[in-house]
Amino acid sequence: MFSFKRYFKFAYLGIFVLFSTFLYANKSDAVIEKWVEFFQPSSLSKDEIRQELLWFREKGEQFKGETVYSTAEGIKTHFWENEILTKAFEEITGVKVEHEIIGEGELVQKISEQLMTGRLIKDIYVNDADSIGTHLRMGRTVDLGKYMQGEGKNYTNPKLDLDDFLNLGPVKDYEGNMLQLPDQQFANLYWFRYDWFTDEKTKTDFKKKYGYDLGVPVNWAAYEDIAEFFTGREMNNPNGTKVKAYGHLDYGKASASIGWRFTDAWLSMAGVGDKGLPNGSPVDEWGIRVENRIPVGSSVERGGALDGPAAVYALTKYLEWLDKYAPPQAKNWEWVDAGPKASEGNIAQRVFQYTTWLSEDSFHEKGSPVVGKDGRPVWRVAPSPVGKYWEEGMKVGYQDVGSWTIPWNVRDERRHMAWLWAQFCVSKSVSVKKFLEGATPVRKSTVNHSYVVDNSYRWGGMIEFFRSPEAEKWTDTGLNVPHYPALSGLWASIISKAITGEATAEGALKELAEKQDEVMSQLKLKHYSPRLNPKRNREYWLSQPGSPKAEIVQREKPLTISYDELIKTWGN
């Protein structure tokens, strides 16, 4: 029987549901619109950003209320992801993210524990692609290439556009499978005070003393002369401060970071390894000889180069410059301490500057000793100078590629949520904005974006570097290193002995090479596990072509180049 009362009850309910839906949709759209505006400038149009964010919302729907646990090292890019992107992701998808920012050493330890003991610590890590040789040999990370084709197809952003990434080489194994996804990238470049290097009196004084022009050092001999020249010299900063300058900046505290001061390609800059990109073949910049993808030795006696004359030269120069030309406190600094130090205005040059630190405000803010009266930086970055063993065709420097990595024991919905979060952090919607915060681009569309190109002066040459084909000579640790976490730990502890004087450079490297070989011999890896060469006389290996290289006694002729000429070689 028809009842008005009942009819109105249903009508009210219907209106309420419709109104609520309308309110929710509007609120939801307001969320999307808020983030569309926030993520300006972007390489996508506003409508394209809207579509991309709506895709994330649709895919996140089924995981609403869940939490993704991720972790990354303490650099500005990741702090920004933690502060902004977790919020955006939660508002858009309803999925919460706990993005823990920790030291790189602790991160390596955590991911190692998860991979080796099966403990579920995090769903996803931003793990440097330096570990690619470990991941491919252990087979305990999700093969993202296969995942995207298979179980993860439905969760893979149609706008991900892998071809837009600057370089996926570091995250692929020997067969080309993609095991990681780059999240942030930064290089190690030469940093210097352009204003000091172009000051007429300074130039004249330098030429008078050394007989050649002050400029960007092409080799270590020139770097050394420039370091000596500036150390103790009185210099002026644009903000009016007068300083006694140092010709060099580095760090030397016994810590995990002293390990990567060396594994991040210091030996390749000296010329320890062989020719061939990305890492040198058959001997790479860790001094490891690899034959048919099998590591066969680090010590010269096994065909490696870690205790060869070139490596001794590399460590000796590091020690000598730290002692003579860097601030005395540098011996007690870690990489986080040294990272922004050049912005204090008393450093003339730095051979090994991680460019991620150049996004710190102190390098850009008005009134800083390293910012001109026009508000533009008075510093520049340039290619790193190379040591006397270096030859054309070798890698020049290091590039860090922090990459999303999903451990094997992260399954099903946890894996899908983690993958959505990773893709969100590298989406075209957010990438330009993220670059402006942390200066660690991973996309071509970021470094080619008109806003970035028009404002490239802010990064002192970094944009030109990333846009240049030369950038491929800056590579991270490659496929050869069979167990990055275990081996890099050795470098930290043994190199420290040379810094404290407990061992000579030669003694420390001999110990390191022996220990590295010992650890490699104990590894039981699923694929391409190390198999050491039998020992032979050092002279045998040193007399063979390529690395390990015989001693070069003579100092190389110092060479410099004008920065303005050099920047043209970066071709854009």
Binding site: M116, T117, G118, R119, L120, N409, V410, G489
Partner: protein, 248 residues
């Protein structure tokens, strides 16, 4: 005289033999034997901690329950490794071992995974009472078994994980609880991989300890604490732990 006394004391400390029992069940990569030699991450940590303090550890393999009985009776000095449980009131655990959080004195934290027959479409979200029965465990996991039985879930015990994997394939029902590492090892075989599913959320995460006997006075309270502290120091040593992980 003082020197002589010191030497005698030092001799006593530095030559103390410690009998440490470990299970005969293969528990790779934590505890197992290779050619009769005890190996694994837990063994390495305990051996190195004891050696560093000047002890001479003697590892003796026993079936789990037998090892516990001998430890309770004081016929061995220690057991590697055991999560805390109220039922072990005759054993010494470090302070705080009874807490649910990670203990600072643990050898390691170990996750246990839940495995089901794939067709069941079951998804574990943290509620133990929903776990498909029977739950198949191995001996030594009686504390977890007791919790499940409290929730009226039938539990079955066997000596080795392999038996449980075979049973679940045969019966096409129920669950297995084992470490992620063991589960993954079995999943390398396509038969298991196709028919079974490892749940995304681990069922437990427990701190495992070096437990001492209360019935034997070979080690003082202070000496036990120093051993747990040495285990902690090693576990927090970045370089050392990465070497340990890399070996397995």
């Amino acid at each position: 005289m003082k020197i002589v006394l010191f030497l005698v004391l030092a001799f006593n400390i530095f030559c103390k033999n410690i009998d440490v029992t470990f299970t005969d069940q293969e528990w790779y990569p934590f505890i197992y034997t290779e050619g009769g030699v005890p190996k694994g991450m837990h063994i390495d940590l305990v051996r190195d901690a004891l050696n560093n303090l000047g002890y001479n550890p003697n590892f003796i393999m026993y079936p789990s329950r037998r090892g516990l009985v001998l430890l309770g009776a004081g016929q061995v000095d220690a057991l590697v490794s055991l999560p805390y449980s109220e039922q072990y009131s005759n054993l010494y655990f470090p302070n705080g071992a009874d807490k649910d959080t990670e203990s600072e004195y643990r050898i390691m934290q170990v996750d246990q995974a839940l495995i089901n027959y794939r067709d069941s479409n079951y998804k574990y979200k943290g509620d133990l009472s929903t776990i498909p029965a029977p739950v198949r465990l191995i001996f030594g996991m009686e504390d977890l078994g007791a919790i499940l039985e409290d929730k009226k879930i039938p539990v079955e015990y066997v000596r080795a994980d392999e038996q449980n994997f075979k049973k679940i394939m045969r019966d096409k029902n129920g669950s297995i609880v084992t470490t992620t590492m063991i589960a993954e090892k079995y999943f390398e075989e396509s038969t298991y991989r196709q028919h079974m599913k490892i749940q995304a959320v681990p069922i437990t995460s427990q701190s495992y300890f070096l437990a001492f006997s209360k019935s034997n006075s070979k080690l003082s309270e202070d000496e036990k604490l120093k051993i747990w502290e040495e285990i902690k120091r090693l576990r927090e040593d970045y370089v050392y732990m990465l070497q340990v992980y890399a070996r397995y």
